[in-house]
Amino acid sequence: MRRWSAWVTGWPRLFVAMSILVTILAAWFAMDVTMTTDVKDFFPADHEQVVTYDEIERTFGSAEFIMVALEMEDIFTSLGFETIAQLTRDLQGVPGISDVRSLTTVEEVKGTDWGVEVGPLLDAVPQTDEEFQRLRLTVLNDPMYSGSIVSPDGTAALHVLEVEQGADPVTVAHKVRDIVGSYSGAGQLYLTGTPVLNAILAESMKTDLKRLLPLVLLLVAVILFLFFRTVRGVVLPFLTVMMSLVWTLGLMGLLERQMSPLNAVMPVILVSLGNAYGIYLLARFNEGLKQGHDRITAVQKGMTSVGVAVLLAGSTTMAGFLATMSSEITQMRDFGLFTAIGVASALFISLSFVPSLWVLLPTTARETHNNKGEAESGSGGANRNRKGKGAKRQLRIGTLERWLTRWGEALPRRKGAVLLVTGLLVLGALAGLPRISTDSNFFNFFDPDSQPRVAYDLVADKFSGSESIEIVVRGDIQDPAVLEAMEAFQEGLEQTGLVGTPQSVVNVLKRTNRAMQEGDEAYYALPEHRDMVAQYLLLLEMSGDGFLDRFLTMDYSQARIQALVTDSSSEGTRRLFAAVEDLFEIHFAPLALDVTQTGIIALLDALADLIIDGQVKSLWWALGAVFVIVRLLLGSWQGSFLSTLLVFLTILGNFGLMGWLGIPLDIVTVLISSIGVGVGIDYSIHIYSRYQEEQRAGNHGSLAVSRTIASTGQAIFVNALAVISGFVILVTSSFPPFRYFGSLVTATMATAALGSLTLLPALILLLDGRRAKHRSKSTEIHGQQ
C-alpha cells in the first residue's frame, strides 16, 4: 500500500488522465447495454425447461401470446363486429404478427348441406337482431369460443396475436401498444400477454431508474456535504461512484450482457456502497492536512493507515455479491459478478483516481480547519473540536455519543436481557420462515391498479387467462387409442377447474366428424378407425392452410394440447402441475406414451425453484467467504465466528420478516441476503477490531466493551445511515419488488448495525467473561494492521 501510494502521488496526472480515458471508453460501451425481461434469459441456455419450451415453439409455433381485449356493452351488435373486424385488420398489419385469432378470423370446420369446409366462423356479419341473437347462442354455447375469444357474458372479445417465429416479441408488443394507444373506436381496449408485460416492464423499469438514481445521488450528495462541508468532499466520492458505475456498465456492454429486473437495482447499490471508501480516505487526508503535512504526505499517510482497511471492507462486500454466482439463474450470476466488479472499480478509483486528483487540488483554508470527517471515520477520539459551522451537528453527535456511552456502560448488566430478546426474535423469525412464499411471475411487478395489471386481471376474469399450459404427446397420434387417451386427459384437465377448455387435434377431429355427418351432434366424437382419422386429417390439410400446424406435427408423431390457465399464481400453477402429473399417470402411462408439459408458467415455476435453490447456496457461500475473510482480517476465530453469526441471524431476521409480512421471495428480494452479508459484516468487524484494540491498550472486559460502543458506535451509526439513505429511495419506486427491496435492505442494515451494538458485545462479554475464569490471561490475538 505504501509503494502504491507513492506511485499514485508520484504521477497524479497520469492516473487522473488514465481514469478519465477508461471512463470515456466505458461510457461508449455502456451505451450498448439493453434490458431484458424475457424469462428465458434468466435460465442457463441448456436448462431442461428452456430446451423443452424452445422445442415446442419450434415445432408448433409460439406459445407466447399478445392479447388485445375489447370490452363493450354487447359484442353481438353490428358496432361490436365492425370494431372487431377493423381491429383485426389493423393488428394483422403489424410486422412480426403471424396470426390474429378473433371472432372474425377464427376458422371452423363446417358441415353444410352440400359438403364440408374449413373456413371463417362467420361467412358474413349478421344483419338483423335475430341473426345476432342466433350467433350469440351458437358462439357462447361453444366451449371452443366461449371464454377463449368471447367472454361468456358477451361483453368482451379477445384478439389473440401470435408472434412470428424469429421476430422479437418485445418489439412486436411495442408496435401493438402503439395501435392500442391510439385507438379511438367504440368500447375500451385492454392489452396484455407475456410479451406486452415484458415490454412494459423493461420500459417502466428504465423510467423508474432514471427517476430514482438522481434522487439517490442527490441524497448521497447531501450526506457527503454534511460530512465534509466542502464541494470537493462531495465531488470526489460522487465521481467515484459515477465512474465505477460507468466502468461496470461499460464492461457489461463490452461483454454484451443485458440489464434485467434483477440487476436494475445495481446502480443504486453501487451508489449507496461505493461512496463509503472515498469517505474514509478523504477523512484521513484531511486529518493529515490538519496535522500540518503537505498534500502528498497526507495522502501517503492516509492511504497507508486506512487503505488496507478500506480494501478489506470492500472485499467482504465483494464476497457477498460474488456468492450469488453460485446460483443457476443467469441474470443472478451476472448481477453478482458485475456488482462485485462495480465495488472493485469503486475501490480502485478510491485508491487511485481520488488520491491523485486530491494531490493536484490546491489546499483551501477550510480543509486545514475542517475536521468533520474525523468524527465519522470511526478512528476514535473524535468530537473534541467543536468550533465552526458544524456546531449543531456536533451537538447531535454529542447526544448520540451520550446515548452510546450510557448503553455501553449498561450493557454488562443487561446482557441477559439482550440474549433473551435476541432469543425471542430468533424464535419469531424461525416461525415466520415457513410462511415465506416465492413469486417468479413478472406480472406481480406491477401494482394492482396499474394499467398492465388491470388488463391482465380483466383477461383472467372475462376469459380463461392469458398464459397457457402446453402439453406434448409423442406417439402414433393417428391411433384412435392415443386420441381417446388425449380426450380423456383433456376432460380430466378441464374438470380441475384450473384451466379453460383444452384444445388439441382431438377437438378438431370431433368437429370434423360432426361436420361430415351434416352437423349431427351424435357424431361429435372421435372417429373409431385409424383410416378415418387419417382421411379426416388429409381433408383438413387440403382445406385450410396450416389449420392443424398448431396442434399436430407433419409426421403425426407429436400432438400439442393447449389450455389457458385461469390461476397463474405460484400456488395455482403448482396445483395445476400436480394435477397434470396425476392425469399423465392415469391416461398416458398405460399406453407408454411420452408426454411433457411446458409453457411460460412452467418456466416461471422452474425459476421460482432456482431462486430458492440459488438463495440457499449463495447464502452459505457468502457466509463461508465472509468467515474466512474476517478470520484473516481479525486474526481471531472467536471474532470471525461471532461476526458471521451476527449476519446470519440478521439474514434470518430478514426472512422471518418477509414471512410475517407476506413479502414474497422474488428475483429482486432474493438479493437482500448477499447485500446483508457483504455489507452487514462490516459493522461487526469494526466493533470486534475496536474491541481488540482496546484490549491491546490494556482495557479488558466491560471497560473495553463500553469504550468500543461509545466510540465505534458512532461510526457504525453514520455508516448505516449513509447506506440506508441510498436504499430507502427505492421505497418510492413504482415497482412493488423494488419497494420491498428498499425497505428490507433498510431493515437488514438497521438490524446488522443494532446487533453489532447489542448482541455482539453481549456475546463477547459472555464468552470472554467465562474464558477469563478458566484462564488468567484473556485471549488476545494480534493480527491486523
Binding site: R58, T59, W114, G115, V116, E117, V118, G119, Q165, Q478, M516, P527, H529, R530, D531, M532, V533, A534, Q535, Y536, L538, L539, E541, M542, S543, G544, D545, D549, T553, M554, D555, Y556, S557
Partner: protein, 268 residues
Amino acid sequence: MLRINGVQIGQKDEGNGKWMLGLILGVFLIGTGTVAALAGNEILAEVDTVMQSDSRSMSQTMTLFSASGQSRTRELQVFSDSTGGEDQMLVRFIAPADVRGTGLLMDGDDMYLYMPALGRVRRIAGHAKQGSFMGSDFSYVDMEQFGTRGFAVDYQAIFVETQSVGDREAYQLQLEPTSDSEYSKLAMWVDSERYLPLQIHYFDKQGEHFKTLTTSEFALFDDRWTATNMLMENVQSGTKTEIIVEQVDFNAAFEASIFTTRNLERGQ
C-alpha cells in the same frame, strides 16, 4: 430454334451530332426493350410447349417438410385434362395405406373429396383451391402451370440475360403477371437447350422473395424432357415440398367419365 439477337440491334448506328446520338439512343432503348420482351415471351412459349400437355397422367411421390424438419410422404396418381375447355384434375392417393383410395376431383372451381372410410363424396368449399395444393408449398395454380395451363396465359416475360445455372446454360426471364395473380412477379431460369425451367423465384404481393422452385433429375418421357425432381421451398417460412415424378404419360387419353363424382366414388 430460337435466337436471342436483341442485343445486336443498333450497335452499328454511331451518330455524329448530339441530337442524332440522342435520337439513336432513344430508338436503341425502345428497340432493345421490345425485342427483349419479344424474346422473353418466345422463350416462355417454348417452355409451355415443352412442359404443357392437354391431358396427362402422372405418378408422383410428394414429401412435405416442416421448418423444423419433420416430413410426410404420400404417393399420388394425378390425372389432368383440359381438352374440354375447363381444367379438370383427379388425384388418387396410393400410399400410405390409411389414405389409400382417397380421391380428390377438381372440376373447374368445384372440388370433391372421396373418403373410403366415410364411403361418400363430399364437396369441399371452392376457396380451398386458392390455397396450397394439398397442404404443400405448391399452390393449385403452380401445379396447373406445370401441367395443363402453362405460363404464357398468365405472364409476359422479359429476357434479362444468359447465365449458367449449375453446369447448364440458362436464359433468365422476368415474368410479370398480365392478370390478377397471387404473385407480384417471377424470376425464371430456363435451360437454353431443353427449355425447361431450372429455377423459379416467386415474389409475393409485397414484392418479397416468397418461394424458390428448383428442378433436377431430367429424364425423357414420351420423347419429352421432364424434371423428375421438383423442390419448392418457402423461403419465408422455411417449409419445403419435394415432388418426385415416377412416371408421366403425356399422351394419356381419358374417358370423359373419369372426371365425375361417380368415378371418384369408385375408389380405385
